[in-house]
Amino acid sequence: MADFDAQIHDSQEQVAAAQQKISELTSRIETAGSRLKAGDDIAIDIENASLDDVHAHTEAMNANIAELIMGLDDVTAGFSRDFDEMRNKTGMESFIGIFSKAKSEAMRQERMRLASVDEKLQDLIGKSDIIVQLLEGQLGVLNTHKDKVEANLTGTLDEREVTVGALETLRADILAMDPQIIELENRISVEQDAAARTVLETELAALNTRYNQMVQDEQVKLANSQTLERYIEKGKTWVDSLQNQAATQMVLINKLQTDTKQRVVLYDALTKSLKTAQQQDVAHRINEIGVETDQEAQTAMAAIGSATNARMADMMEAHEDHMVFARKVLEQKAKSDERFARRFQAIVEKHDKNLYGA
């Protein structure tokens, strides 16, 4: 259990670190966005917002949590010790068994009557709750970041549209200037009058200056649009990554909740069936020694009893609905298991090797 607590603590730290990294990245993207609006160069900011680091970190975190979930299996292995204890005799009981078999058996029965796994089940639910909370917290953070970046992205997309629009009008204007310039040049080449020629040349020079300016403007706009594009690309990757991470968290939560539900029921049923089976006939045997005298009356009544029973059996119906429902549940469970296995293949392999190899 100490191991489990340490692992939970570990995971909590990792989740906190991952969340910090995620917010760092989001804030970088956001600052880049605001600086973009201010018109600064943001190329460096975008390069700095490296996803790899965050990815490596979240991967480690998820691996840890997946291991934690699989580790619950090992924690619950403690239950099987309880089951064995219920089946077998303790050292003291075996020792007494040398002298009196009956006394030793009676001691074991008494111990079994006291056995209860309810506290352990409560503990199991509590532990799984802690992990679920961890995961849900992470999921919440991922979703808020996703929303933030998405909102930011929509703004930037609009901006890029405007920039591209401006670029295109500029290009159209530049194209429209070409015939004007050619016409002027033609007119200059055929003009005989020096004064008129000078006027035309001045006009051409002004036109050329404007043309150059527009071309320069086009370059700036182009660069701007490219930066915006890179920014959007980065943001999109980030949103994708956040979405992917959120999906992972959901798979983990789903797996954990299904598992815990089933485990609680399973261990409970196992303990109780053990207790029931081992006690029931003993109690009857003991009581029957006392009721031997009533035996005769019983046999007389038994005939009536069995007739009633037969009728009750007739009344029971086939449970075909049951089977359909069971199949559906099985399918759902298989799906959730498969999703888990697909995402955490490596960890499952490692875990299995640890469990069965050593």
Partner: protein
């Protein structure tokens, strides 16, 4: 194996369905108290027993109210945060045992949650702001408030938990320095997913009164809690208790199973009750039937048994159902089955008159709260 155990469990993930389910139970638990009062009038329950049973019934009602708050916004909130109530569909109709275990876990942390939450007045204020200011449904705030009410209910009311530890009530002297106690406890049985109430009449021959005896009482409490399984027959429980405690003599042990609840909308049932509920075509809220079973085991006589070398202890011999010889082995002196249902399903039940129900007592409840009993 694991899947087989949970195949009957189903989540109520739709908000309206969940609300209808809780509304149904609110009505049913209100009727239960009236049925218990009727049984008291017939001398089936003594006054203290009625008080005890009434308290457990109220507890069940409070627990359902708490759960209703917890799952109030099921299906309206996205994400795994909201969750859904899981009920056992076959032969129970009640929430699964794990819901009650989770509730106990929540209760331990209720104070911490409440400390970090805004008060209900503030939440309502925020809701109004959101409705008036942003013209939007304040679903998140509603969820926060429902959780707050849930945690408040966990702290405040006397709920029915997964385990309700034994209490002993002094009933008078039985002569020869013996005291009579009514020991009562209740569990939410995990195998059949139903609340079960235990009542035991005990004669205490010890020197210190049982509830004040710091040696025997905690041990007895633990013993009884660990033995309260639906799968154990009353005889097994009583015999084990009698054998483990030399100076406590269980004279009478009763077990009250509340449920299963049948409803054609929520549960899967087999046998005649399905036909009855389907044919009745009752309006929502009238479509249910709740079984109520009382098992009773009485001590027939007492024998002396040697214990160690010098002393002897009394052991009980319990009277068993005469039918128990070869037929259904109940391990109880008698078993009384009753079914509580509204008027309309009862009419159909009476028309169809399925053979299995002839021996079952029928309590018919009316919308105004009157209870009629038919054999």
């Amino acid at each position: 194996m694991k899947e087989a155990l949970t195949r009957d469990h189903a989540g109520l993930s739709d908000a309206l369905v969940a609300r209808r389910y809780f509304a149904k139970f609110e009505r049913i638990t209100a009727h239960l108290a009236r049925v218990a009062a009727l049984l008291h009038e017939e001398r089936a329950f003594t006054k203290p027993e009625l008080t005890v049973v009434g308290r457990y019934l109220r507890g069940i009602s409070f627990s359902f109210q708490a759960l209703a708050n917890k799952y109030l916004l099921t299906g309206r909130i996205e994400g795994p945060l909201a969750g859904a109530l899981t009920i056992d569909r076959s032969e129970s109709g009640f929430p699964v045992h794990a819901e009650f275990l989770t509730m106990a876990n929540d209760a331990q942390q209720a104070e911490r949650h409440l400390r970090n939450m805004p008060g209900s007045a503030e939440l309502k204020d925020q809701m109004v702001r959101r409705i008036v200011g942003e013209l939007a449904l304040p679903t998140r705030l509603q969820f926060a408030l429902s959780q707050r009410l849930y945690y408040e209910a966990l702290l405040k009311a006397d709920l029915f938990w997964a385990q309700n530890d034994p209490e002993a009530l002094w009933q008078g002297d039985a002569g020869e320095g013996r005291r009579r106690f009514l020991v009562h406890w209740a569990v939410y049985d995990s195998q059949i997913n139903l609340p079960t109430i235990y009542l035991m009449d005990v004669e205490d021959a010890g020197r210190t009164a049982l509830p004040k005896d710091q040696r025997r009482w905690p041990e007895a409490q633990r013993h009884l809690m660990a033995q309260s399984l639906g799968g154990l027959k009353l005889l097994t429980i009583a015999k084990g208790f009698d054998g483990d405690f030399d100076d406590l003599h269980p004279k009478r042990l009763r077990r009250i199973h509340i449920g299963p609840m049948y409803s054609s909308a929520f549960t899967r049932q087999s046998g005649p009750i399905r036909e009855v509920l389907e044919k009745a075509q009752s309006p929502a809220g009238e479509d249910w039937a709740l079984a109520w079973t009382v098992e009773e085991l009485e001590s027939a006589r007492v024998t002396q048994e040697k214990s160690g070398w010098f002393s002897a202890v009394e052991r009980e011999v319990f009277a068993l159902d005469p039918f128990a010889g070869r037929g259904a082995d109940t391990g109880a002196t008698r078993t009384e089955r009753a079914i509580i249902l509204p008027q309309r399903p009862y009419q159909t039940l009476d028309d169809l008159a399925p053979p299995g129900f002839r021996q079952v007592r029928k309590f018919v409840v009316g919308p105004q709260g009157q209870v009629l009993s038919y054999r």
